[in-house]
């Protein structure tokens, strides 16, 4: 197994044990009650104001990318979803990643490691659309706008979804 831990840009500075317990409590969703933060605070033995202040800080630090309604695209007719993978020269990967990420239909955009001849692709983006043609049109749009016509890429449409839920970082979970 090849995990290349040292390549990864992990930054968890500034997250303490209370933050971790708080994230565990909210990662599957806030309770739908009039005072959700007071409810969470009660479970953690914290004050409501502290819960809100910690969430604000975690948002500011980028640990929480956003707080709000998390929509399931498939349920709204966005049935086509493709992961597009590109074999981009290492010198251009940051510039192209930033170019792709500016498009509203690109919902994720990551650099990942190549794995030799088995897997030569280093730039990944996720595109949601109402059907396959819509997604393929968007791939063409990206290709033209970011000047990657000559770059080898593949479009991996999703078929079945076997499992989808919020991340679970709990230590010792069953």
């Amino acid at each position: 197994m090849e995990l290349n831990v040292r390549q990864r840009r992990v930054d968890s500075t500034g997250i303490d044990a209370h933050d971790r317990r708080l994230l565990e409590q909210i990662q599957e969703g806030l309770p739908l009650v009039p005072r959700p933060f007071a409810d969470i605070a009660g479970r953690l033995g914290m004050a409501e104001a502290e819960v809100i202040a910690r969430i604000e800080r975690l948002c500011g630090e980028g640990v929480i990318k956003r707080m709000g309604v998390v929509v399931r695209h498939r349920s709204l007719g966005y049935d086509a979803n493709a992961m597009v993978v590109w074999d981009v020269p290492d010198t251009r990967v940051d510039a192209l990643g930033q170019c792709f990420a500016r498009f509203p239909f690109v919902t994720l955009c990551y650099q990942r490691p190549r794995r030799g001849a088995r897997w030569p692709y280093n730039l990944f983006c996720m595109i949601h659309g109402k059907d396959r043609d819509a997604v393929l049109d968007k791939v063409v749009e990206l290709t033209e706008a970011c000047g990657v016509g000559e770059v080898r890429h593949q479009v991996l449409f999703s078929r079945r979804c076997f499992k989808q839920r919020g991340a679970n970082y709990r230590r010792g979970c069953p």
Binding site: G62, S75, Y110, W119
Partner: protein, 154 residues
Amino acid sequence: MPTTNLNAFERRLLNDFQQDMPLSPTPYADMAARLGVSEAEVLEALASLREEGVISRVGPVLAINRVGASTLAAMAVPEPRLEAVARLVSAHPAVNHNYEREHRFNLWFVATAPGEAELAQVITELERATGLDALVLPMLQDYHIDLGFELQWN
């Protein structure tokens, strides 16, 4: 659920609060005030949208690799074994996404764990359980700033 089944209030609830949820003691009442409805209507609508699977939650989207460790991984599964292997992978509590994709690498999943050592252990367990090698593709750089997703209603 076809989008035509959503009323104007539900559409605004889905569109306007993907990132701007108020962080006040009474966020749902504040959302209701902005939409001109009652707090009870917001709570009921969110509960039923969650029940119907239109939303997965009201809550945080976490930056990956900022809390714990996670990775994308893929397996090239012989077609006749795909469903059985997918079940084995989904059954692991560390796996939170698991999709079939159109490629020789046809099973794609995300595994998360409290730290790097536990994550490596998860991958080893999945490789042993399935008898297949995993292509392990951890994120190196995130270019996307998550502002939610702009929904188009027609």
